[in-house]
Symmetry: C2
Subunit: 222 residues, 2 copies
């Protein structure tokens, strides 16, 4: 599996810092203080260097984030038992990706920064595509099916992570609370009916239910 190309070593002054060291230090900062605190300047002081030295080892901050995600994926993605049944294989692979990423709220910034996560996640993509083909889809439709699953999974993680962050920095009722408190039951009867229960209902973790529905729908002959 290729890493993004590292700067070539030929002659001259030996490097004092390495990509690995940068990624490890970035991980420490993110784990201890959150993504927001990961800046090129903060990272430079963490490894006892200057901001500009970093740009000798990564193209820019975006690339650093991709490297960080890759590092995270390599360390935490555990390959699950893959059931023979196609539908269950797809669900198991998608759930494994979801589980790894959901524990990692800082991922959001990086998810939107690159559509495919990392080389080490490809095995999971393979399981999903293969399961969909085994379930009767053409390879083309299987790729589209994988994409739909990825949209659903990434969307769930991004929205939940932001909601959690919002809850941390809490100040009074949210805009949503205000809107739901003032619903017109004549115009919006269904929403009025569930208005009181909206917050707890949407806080429930129903990722797997939605995933199963999506996979069912993708595999259903139509």
């Amino acid at each position: 599996m290729p890493q993004p190309p590292a700067p070539r070593r030929t002659l001259g002054r030996p490097p004092r810092i390495s990509r690995e060291e940068m990624v490890a230090a970035a991980r420490r900062i993110v784990d201890a203080e959150g993504v927001d605190r990961l800046t090129m300047r903060r990272l430079a002081t963490e490894i006892g260097s200057t901001p500009m030295a970093l740009y000798h080892h990564v193209r820019n901050k975006d690339q650093l984030l991709v490297l960080l995600l890759d590092d995270y994926a390599v360390r935490t993605l555990r390959r699950p038992e893959v059931p023979d049944e196609p539908r269950e294989r797809v669900v198991a692979a998608a759930a494994a990706i979801h589980e790894a990423l959901a524990d990692c709220p800082w991922i959001v910034e990086v998810l939107t920064a690159d559509d495919l996560m990392s080389a080490s996640a490809l095995w999971f993509v393979e399981q999903i595509v293969d399961g969909l083909v085994a379930g009767g889809l053409s390879p083309e439709r299987a790729v589209h099916g994988y994409r739909a699953i990825w949209y659903y999974t990434a969307g769930e993680i991004m929205i939940r992570a932001t909601a959690a962050r919002r809850r941390r920095t809490d100040d009074g009722p949210t805009y949503r609370d205000q809107v739901f408190a003032a619903l017109d039951p004549d115009e919006l009867p269904r929403l009025s009916e569930v208005a009181q229960r909206w917050a707890p209902l949407t806080a429930e973790d129903t990722y797997l239910d939605g995933l199963r529905a999506l996979v069912d729908g993708l595999l259903a002959a139509r």
Copy 2:
């Protein structure tokens, strides 16, 4: 429908700028130069004021973005013909939301900033929840179903918008291209099979296919 509370008018010096003026100016900046260029300072010069005057009318920049999204929703969301058939009603409402937001790539930053879009989008949420209930789901499961559709829709928009932005600021083959060029066919046979077609396949707009699959799966008795 309530707007977020505006500062109370009582006595004293009459205001020189209003929320409406701020939102209109913000819209001009975003349309002409992109979200990245929308800063409190830029907005202040746009309306011939100072950054700090703005903080008298909005709590912070996040609130300004929510107001901007609300303004966008009011102006662009068009209520579609709603079919009687529950399944088609859900699809039509979700597709309408998707269509409005997909034309608006700057939305990404705001989507992750608040899970429900705006008061003017509630009618569409009502249609989706109502359609799912008409299709046989309990109100609780219908809300969960709506959330699944929202995750899928928001994920699709965010990922596509970022991919488009990435394509604009193009410099050479992406990380993904490199990864796919070096696949091991023994370890990842399915992905190797479609490797050449991966980019065009994932560039295709298959939002509606995935949506229909998801709605089918949600409505299928299990």
